[in-house]
Symmetry: C2
Subunit: 413 residues, 2 copies
């Protein structure tokens, strides 16, 4: 088949239109789940789906679906991503996967040929967990029946609002979340910005994702002793921040000495009591570390623990370490990867096999149904930032590859 | 003269009684200026002053004075300290200087001999600046006419309450602050806990303070670039916290390599945006550093600036440095130091000449009238902490030395 390529102008318009919802003063996007900006954005997505000829439905999590019926009522080929953003995020993370799905289906509808099985594009809610920490992948977990009852009242935003109350404000009734469960999905394919710069560095147009990295969060509490910053001589101190600073450096050295695709980050750190004239008695920080095999994640954890313990011992400080969160790596379905590669060949674009350091809805869904991911380039690798950018041409190439992938999955299969 | 020694039991009782005001659940004291606990504590001090035969007055800053008239209406010999505390502070910092003044005057009144000049003990307000950052030494500055008009509405607590409104709630009318000005003070002597451990280590009962260290606060802002913690390879990062951690270590190394009495502390540090899965784009921290000569303070500042700039340059980060606060060192009045030394000899206690790393009301008052300071031991040097402790015996020795010092200044002079 020769599908019409998706038009770069069409993609630029869609990105610009969706990017208006939650746009802040300095070019970023603030679109936390169930906020007015999020609700308006989902309405825009629903209207756009209807506009290209899809039948729209919503579920009680707040996910929006656009469906193209097939010649059989066989199980569904699903594509999509999420539209919630981190605080001061960009216009592409998640959003581009939803818009590319709509644009791809627009092209496929234009062929006038009905698919052999139903195809749906979904706009998922709360992938980031940025409004409700701990709620990551809420929309995809709802579809899979993986949201715990206790989350509805236990997950609260910074103002203490429960996710159940926040959802009611926006429309969805989370007490009916059980109705979201879908058992009719045959496979999932998600397009996403790379959030790294391997495609840019290699000059490749499309990344075919092989593995989504596993992640752990290790919380470290360092305990020393508060003392007067003026009256306590240097040799009499047990300064928790001096210990933590050495640990932060040691974590970086440990991950760099492993080389390869391992990454580790200290992005959150709190000093107590936190006055300029008091020697810190306690410091708490979180290490986020990731790799593509469970063995490497575990080895990295051992290195980080050893580094922190060694610093604490050398300084006579206490260090308490606790795993807050762990997501195993996921190797994506081999047949889905082959299908995406075949689609890139049919469209005629340059590709690179890549791994994803970031987590995605695909990581949750991919444990239950065959899943594939398509990456498009991120300028300078920037993401979770107003600086996110993928050119209209690059977006159009991605949507065209997605359209061809869906064709193979739902028309030719 | 042979003065009756102050009774340890009397000191223990006074410390215990004053320590009840603002006592928190874990043995600490929360007594921010103009709070209900502070007001009740000043009332207790006023009653105790009256109880030992002093005439009590209050000024419009909230300072409480107990006065013993002299045979002449010559200028006043003043002693005292402050009763406001840091958050979760101890029962001795400041409070012991007020209570020792009252106990010393009780002993002196008991001699039945009127002083040749008036003697007063003062309980000063807001030395710490812990409720109103920037208001340090508010009570002593009010006496000296050094409070700026703009402070009354410009200084606000964490809830946004101005110092003027907070004072009105507790009684004082800060619009009449001009009336606090005293030009009749001939000299000042302050007893305080050491807040270090040189007296304990040397086995000395009393420290005769020579110099109060000068201080600077240097604010450092480190700017890198936010990136995704999973998708950004280690070699592509500009991590502001990795830079700041190296600077924090370098500041410590710089001050230690100077040796001597130099100290430097990073007690406040903030990471932005502060999420575990975002590479930090900005870190702000404050370096508090002190030494006993201005030359050493300035040399230390140069070392710290060089260390931070060198780290920033090596990592391609931006570093912005700004002095937030600077207090010059103060060498205390030589004649007052000699008087205190003579008093320790008369009482028969072991002494050590020491410098003060901490700032005190004496540092403000001592720039205007001859001032001396008496230190008593701090167990393990602990201060600004519920762990502050000076034994009743050590407190009594301090109060006895203070009584003999006041005798020499106001009776024999």
């Amino acid at each position: 088949v020769e599908l019409d390529p998706v038009d770069p102008g069409r993609m630029a318009l869609l990105v610009e239109q969706l990017g208006r919802f939650g746009a802040n003063a300095h070019g970023g996007v603030d679109r936390p789940v169930y906020s007015p900006a999020w609700r308006d954005a989902q309405d825009f997505v629903a209207e756009t789906m209807a506009g290209v000829g899809l039948s729209v439905s919503r579920d009680q999590a707040g996910n929006v679906f656009g469906r193209l019926e097939g010649r059989s009522s066989d199980s569904v080929v699903l594509t999509g991503s999420h539209i919630d953003s981190v605080v001061d995020g960009g216009r592409y993370d998640g959003a581009l996967g939803v818009l590319s799905g709509v644009a791809a289906l627009e092209t496929l509808v234009a062929t006038g040929v009905a698919p052999s099985r139903p195809v749906e594009v979904v706009s998922l809610c709360e992938e980031e967990g940025s409004r409700f920490p701990g709620a990551s992948y809420f929309g995809s977990r709802a579809i899979l029946g993986l949201v715990g009852e206790e989350e509805l009242t236990g997950l609260r935003d910074a103002d203490g609002v429960t996710i159940e109350d926040a959802a009611r404000e926006a429309g969805p009734d989370l007490r009916r979340l059980g109705e979201c469960r879908r058992s009719d999905i045959s496979c999932f394919v998600e397009l996403h910005i790379e959030q790294g710069r391997r495609l840019q560095d290699a000059g490749a147009q499309i990344g075919v994702v092989q593995t989504i990295a596993g992640l752990k969060w290790l919380r470290v509490v360092v305990r020393g002793r508060t003392d007067h910053a003026g009256a306590t001589r240097m040799e009499h101190r047990s300064d928790a921040l001096q210990g933590a600073a050495e640990m932060v450096s040691a974590v970086d050295a440990a991950v760099r000495s492993r080389g390869g695709v391992s990454v580790a980050t200290v992005g959150q750190l709190r000093v107590l009591p936190g006055a300029p004239n008091i020697v810190p008695g306690q410091v708490e920080f979180v290490v986020d570390f990731r790799d593509t095999t469970q063995q490497s994640v575990d080895a990295l954890e051992a290195d980080i623990r050893a580094a922190c313990s060694s610093v604490a011992e050398g300084r006579g400080l206490e260090a308490e370490l606790e795993v807050l969160r762990a997501t195993p790596p996921l190797e994506l379905d081999q047949r889905m990867r082959q299908t995406i590669s075949a689609a890139t060949a049919a469209v005629g674009v340059t590709t690179l096999d890549v791994d994803s350091g970031a987590g995605h809805d695909s990581q949750t869904i991919g444990r239950h149904v065959p899943t594939g991911m398509i990456f498009v380039p991120s300028r300078d690798g920037r993401s979770h930032s107003p600086a996110e950018y993928t050119s209209p041409q690059e977006c159009a190439v991605g949507a065209s590859v997605l359209a061809m992938t869906l064709w193979q999955l739902a028309w030719e299969d």
